[in-house]
């Protein structure tokens, strides 16, 4: 060796080789760089959300009116409380995670076990809450009508309160059947399930109740959706109405622009998937701690690495919470 290698004059300097300039193990550094790339993926999603929102800035749903439900409190409008609860659960599980890392540094096996256990429970509560949130969002609330132009119109009474279509739609006996592929052209996939009321029933019920108005998804100067006059409402429903929408999916969204639902599913879904995989990885590490793998290794650095990932999931949620629910 000595014959081949000339001296470079950088021996003993930080980047001269033979030292660890970043003072981090390979695994930990790679976890950090994975986190950077994953953060960029999430920013891609959130920036795309911002793009679409700026594109339809005058017609974007107001999150406060969309996420108003809390489990076991049916019919009590409580905007944001449940998401705030979810945020706390996640922050708290981050705290127990960092406490586990701290206990790991001190080689306190039992403390690590307990703190990891609470972290996993917190993660499970969060994923469960998100599933509930999704279910509520998909099921829908008041129902709405989609126009020919793909815009959503919603129903209000003259006091300005939202009215569910089930409360005013009249029952017109008629035969409605779900479209099936075998009865139609092959490329026309099986249609979505029938809405509980047809457009004709909603229109008839709307005309029969004089105290009903329509609001469009376009926001006025104060940021509230525009409410049409009674005459304009009837004209709008009759001329433009096309489809009764209940709940939300990737194509239709009773709360407003379909892109809102798409981004909701993609961003919270991608984040929820991260939480889920975080819980799985936490479980693996948890059992490794129990069987004493890291005790034998005399280092709990694996707990630290999985902790980094877990905190990152929390970090992403902080941004999702802001951009989806607050802003």
């Amino acid at each position: 060796m000595e014959a081949n290698v000339s001296r470079t004059g950088t021996e003993g300097k930080t980047w001269g080789g033979g030292s660890q300039p970043l003072n981090a193990s390979y695994g930990k550094m790679m976890m950090w760089f994975f986190i950077v790339s994953d953060a960029l993926t999430f920013s891609g999603f959130i920036a795309a959300y911002g793009f679409s929102r700026f594109k339809f800035i005058d017609a974007w749903p107001i999150a406060d009116e969309v996420f108003t439900h809390v489990p076991f409190l049916h019919g009590v409008p409580a905007p944001m409380y449940y998401v705030a609860f979810m945020t706390f659960v996640l922050i708290f599980s981050s705290v127990t995670m960092v406490l586990a890392v701290d206990a790991g540094h001190k080689m306190q096996k039992n403390k690590v076990i307990w703190y990891m256990f609470f972290t996993i429970i917190g993660g499970a509560i969060f994923v469960g809450s998100q599933a509930w949130e999704w279910a509520t969002f998909i099921k829908g609330d008041y129902g709405a009508v989609e126009t020919k132009g793909g815009k959503i119109i919603q129903f209000l009474n003259t006091e300005g309160e939202r009215v569910a279509i089930a409360d005013f739609a009249s029952n017109i006996p008629s035969e409605r059947t779900t479209h099936e592929r075998r009865n139609g052209v092959w490329y026309d996939a099986d249609g979505a399930a029938l809405s509980s009321f047809s457009l004709a029933e909603v229109t008839a019920g709307f005309k029969a109740n004089d105290n009903l108005l329509i609001r469009t998804q376009y926001l006025d100067d104060n940021g509230h959706p525009t409410v049409l006059s009674r005459a304009a409402s009837i004209a709008k429903l009759e001329n433009d109405g096309k489809l009764v929408v209940e709940g939300a999916n990737l194509k239709h969204n009773e709360y407003g622009h379909p892109l809102f639902a798409d981004f909701f599913f993609f961003i919270t879904g991608f984040h929820g998937f991260h939480v889920f995989s975080g819980v799985v990885i936490n479980c693996i590490i948890f059992f490794n701690v129990i069987i004493g793998t890291y005790e034998k290794r005399k280092s709990y650095e694996m707990v630290e690495k999985v902790g980094l990932y877990w905190h990152f999931v929390d970090l992403v949620w902080v941004f999702v919470f802001t951009f989806f629910y607050l802003v």
Binding site: N23, I57, V95, D102, G149, H311, T322
Partner: protein, 127 residues
């Protein structure tokens, strides 16, 4: 892999006795920020929704700045970025911040442009 932690936050204004009290202190800080955010988000004070700054409502700036504060403390204290070397910290933080700011800037400008095109052209979209 030093186990020593820097125990000061707020540039040394608060110094914790040990790492565990620091964790709880940061938790309290994050909780307070979240409670403020939720409170403002529900009450929506008028002076914040009425006034604008740089094409955005004041309330949205408020939320975004508080979010960045929270992100800072999660990264610095929960992820122990405070205890890492300068090189690792800059490699991670500056790369991400630069790329994210660039992406957001360019996409939001583009989105706003398309909004103007939709609004000012001669095709009817509301039907």
């Amino acid at each position: 892999m030093g186990h020593e932690h820097k125990l000061e936050i707020f540039r040394g204004l608060i110094k914790f006795k040990n790492n565990i009290t620091k964790i709880w202190g940061v938790f309290v800080l994050l909780s307070i920020i979240t409670i403020i955010e939720v409170y403002v988000g529900i009450t929506k004070p008028e002076f914040m929704t009425e006034s604008r700054f740089l094409a955005m409502k004041l309330i949205n700036w408020f939320f975004i700045i508080l979010t960045l504060v929270k992100a800072y403390y999660i990264t610095w204290d929960f992820m122990h970025m405070r205890d890492e070397t300068k090189g690792l910290r800059r490699a991670v933080v500056w790369t991400a911040i630069f790329l994210i700011c660039y992406l957001i800037l360019i996409l939001l400008i583009e989105g706003d442009y398309i909004y103007e095109v939709y609004k000012n052209n001669y095709v009817k979209f509301d039907f």
